[in-house]
Amino acid sequence: MAAQRTRQPTRRWRQVVRTPLGAGASLLMALVLLLALVAPMLWTDQADAVDTGNILAGPSAEHWAGTDNLGRDILFRSLVAARLSVGLALTATAIAIVLGLLLGTAPMLLGRRLGRLVTASVDIAVAFPGLLLALFFAVIFGVGARGAVLAIGIAGAPSFARLVHTLVAGVAARDYVAAARAAGVGRVRVLLRHVLPNISEPLIVNATIGAGGALLSFAGLSFLGLGVQAPQYDWGRLLFDGIGALYVNPAAALAPGLTVLLAGLAFNLFGESVAKGLGVATLGHLPERRSAGPATSGPPTIRAEEPVVAGDDEAPVLDVRDLWVSFPGADGPVQPVRGVSFAVRRGEAVGVVGESGSGKSLTALAVSRLIEEPGRVEAARLQLLGADLRTGSERAQRQLLGTSLAMVFQDPMTSFNPTRRMGGQLAEVARQHQGMTRRDAFGRAVDRLAAVRIPEARRRAGQYPHEFSGGMRQRAMIGMGLMGSPALIIADEPTTALDVTVQQQVLDLLQAIREADDVALVLISHDVTVVGEVCDRVLVMYAGRIVEDLAAADLATGAAHPYTRALVAAVPDMETDLEQPLAVVPGRPVAPGEVPAGCAYAARCPLADDRCRAEDPQLASFETPDHRVACWHAGEPIPVDGPREPAPVDPVELVEVDAP
């Protein structure tokens, strides 16, 4: 949107015409306007020529669409009627716009009280269909073309007024308008100089669509006999005359009918395609919101298996080897996760840290089989409790994942369905996977809510998500995971969206569950402190890879990878001056589509040398078998005043390490 706004206006309009739909609509539109202009000059005589010997004739070589009850040529009449039809529609639209502008800007000009009254009246009027309003005003202004123009114009005013009101309110909130107001510029001047020019585009687009509507409404009124009266004729009037003779000469009704349809379509499609091209919302239509592109990616190449930490004899709860995630991008597939291998033992808590874009969340989604098309997941091994998640029937997988794996997402405010009660949302799991009755499942839901320390669980279960606080919702989300008997909880930034005061509660709850039921935990976080506090082991991710795998206890002093050390160093401690901005890891993370050859961290690394930039270091054991690092200079001292790489480019991209 912002990019569109900065483009040249003419170029943006030209781009509208360049789409097939836009070009077709523009052509049709030009044709209709041309017809309205020239048809009466060219063909009025033929259209009015009476031929009493040839009345109500069907189509012939002489009269392509036959003749009417006075023997006049239908086709020529349909063409000549273009001017009156289009003219009346445009006049009515102009009336609607002027009235709409007056009513829509009234709240800004008239001040609070009166403005509110106007807005309320408009709101009431908008609820009534335009046709009903048009009929009402047609009665007052009388039958005929003049009455119909006024009626359709006034009937169209309320919806325009509402549009203008919305647009004006949007612009009026912007800084430059506020600045102009503060500088003492008068309301009318602000409106004319600052507000109206900024809303002209959507207004014009909607006026075009409105003109199409007016054209069809007018045809409707004339068709009812309430609009244009003989001897004048517009398309609706021709239709009115033609329908009586439908059995004798169908073309008498179909010709004007099709013409008005095409004309209406021209206005509508033109307006819609301009709206789409300019990104303008239209009356009654929603702008499209879209995400990723179509699936075109091929499978990524599978790498050789990497050594995984040798666990004890017990099978790991989760075993992942060489996991790749790819999405189709503009220039071929993008791979945000590039060969990740790790295992989680029963009851173990593993933290995954990294900046945004490091692939840590996608790793979690991929492991839990929640990546949707067009995303692709490939792995040499992906096992939950020994069961292969890459194969197997969907039913069996749903059963396994639904009962043994619990997910906790970042934003508890949006992760519950707002239209359903909390109890029902939890109970659904038990009904689905444990075949419980509605009553039993609800009972279990209440029990689980109580288990995650939600007071008055029974009453709370009957409430909707918006009645829960953020912390409570996150606890309920954990409770939802406990509906089954999970062996693993994957929590993706579970505390990031929460108040500092409730963050600890949620972490404590996760800890308690882990201890009570020997549940394994994968905690994904950008916050090294949180991970260090809760987890046994930490995986540090950078650019879609694990760059270090170490015991949480070693974080502070034993980290070997320069990136891990930078993350740890950025954590504020007792001596940190809290008045200063939080420390960050200098430099910018690598975007998934632009991973360089050699070590991905080289551009930001104080230890980087030529080898780093040429050869990609693999994850390998460092000093002890449980400590894995991917770095050519693992553990080497970092020069204090050494040649730092270029200063941070874009501070927004940097990860801030929060205080605990």
Binding site: F136, G257, H285, E372, N417, G462
Partner: protein, 346 residues
């Protein structure tokens, strides 16, 4: 009007029987509180709208330039007769007296007397109303039954930028269908099925099959728009976090789409859908005239042309109330589907 009131008045009781009411899920007082406020607010808005409507229909006859009675009876009618009729209609009383009489008449079901046929307007309306209501109701039903499954299916098929071609075909055809005005579609249907094929009756309410073409004419456009809105909403909703949660609960796809995505998509679609369905009430006027349907729509047009103002007044009022009824119903359904919609207005 009484039905409209009772529809709203009954809302505070509905949540207990709502679809998601779990066993023992006692309502929180906060929610009840919201329902009461919602009902009061909605009722107030309905009453104001009805008052505006009644007043507008009353004023209509007074806003007409010239003497409406003279206009109705024609320039040749004797002056005494016109005066007598004016007297009978009370048009010579002070405006507020007439207003009061009008309101009192409405309250007792007296809608006045036709200037042309001298019949009570209430009788005319009562005789004509059923044909229109049944037509409109069937058309609503048809539009919604087609639009919801179509919109949902299209939303699922075109989510996350899939099915570009399907999307283009669907969007284009729905835009075109939505542009065809109902009465033109009606004329086309009459031509194809009546004139060319001779399969279906094209005029009057002569049996169940006579409903087919008028209902089709009325329903196609709104169905196309509704389906389009629902598709866009589905595509948006399918990206929502709570849909991911539903998938994380490993529900089967139909449950995710219908149980979790659809109610949310509908709440957004209904906000516009109310206007579209309301507009269908007025659209019956045109369609009835295409098919010579013996409803209010044919009557209002002939009455406007005959300047039979009391009849026009009454029918405008009936249509207006019909629209308000539809709007109110939609709001209540909305509140049932998504309790936040009540609070958002606070």
């Amino acid at each position: 009007m009484t039905t409209a009131n009772s529809a709203v008045a009954s809302t505070p009781a509905t949540p207990t029987s709502g679809p998601q009411a779990g066993p023992g899920g006692r309502l929180s007082s906060a929610l009840t509180h919201h329902w009461v406020r919602f009902a009061v607010r909605r009722l107030a808005r309905l009453l104001v709208s009805v008052w505006v409507l009644v007043t507008a229909s009353f004023l209509m006859i007074h806003l007409i330039p010239g003497d409406p009675v003279r206009g109705a009876m024609g320039p040749t009618a004797p002056a005494e007769l016109v005066a007598a009729r004016r007297e009978a209609l009370g048009l010579d009383d002070p405006l507020w007296v007439q207003y009061w009489d009008y309101l009192r008449g409405l309250a007792t079901g007296d809608l006045g007397t036709s200037l042309i046929s001298q019949l009570p307007v209430a009788d005319v309306v009562a005789q004509r109303l059923p044909a229109t209501v049944s037509l409109a109701a069937l058309a609503f039903l048809a539009a919604v039954t087609v639009a919801v499954p179509l919109g949902v299916t299209m939303g699922v098929l075109t989510r996350r930028g899939r099915g570009r071609r399907t999307e283009l075909a669907f969007t284009t055809s729905s835009v075109v269908l939505a542009t065809v005005p109902d009465f033109l579609l009606g004329v086309g249907l009459v031509y194809v099925f009546g004139v060319q094929l001779g399969w279906l009756p094209v005029a009057g309410n002569v049996g169940p099959e006579a409903y087919l073409l008028p209902v089709l004419s009325l329903a196609v456009g709104p169905a196309a728009i509704l389906a389009r809105i629902i598709r866009v909403e589905m595509v948006t909703v399918l990206e929502a976090d709570y849909v991911r949660t539903a998938r994380a609960k490993r529900l089967p796809a139909p449950r995710v789409y219908l149980g979790h995505a659809l109610p949310n998509a509908l709440t957004a679609a209904l906000t516009l859908g109310g206007l579209i369905l309301g507009a269908m009430v007025a659209s019956t006027v045109l369609v009835e005239n295409v098919f010579a349907w013996p409803g209010l729509g044919s009557t209002i047009v002939s009455s406007i042309l005959n300047k039979d103002y009391p009849v026009v007044q009454a029918i405008v009022l009936v249509y207006g109330v019909g629209v308000l009824l539809v709007n109110t119903t939609v709001d209540v359904v909305l509140a049932l589907l998504d309790p936040r919609s009540m609070i958002r207005e606070d």
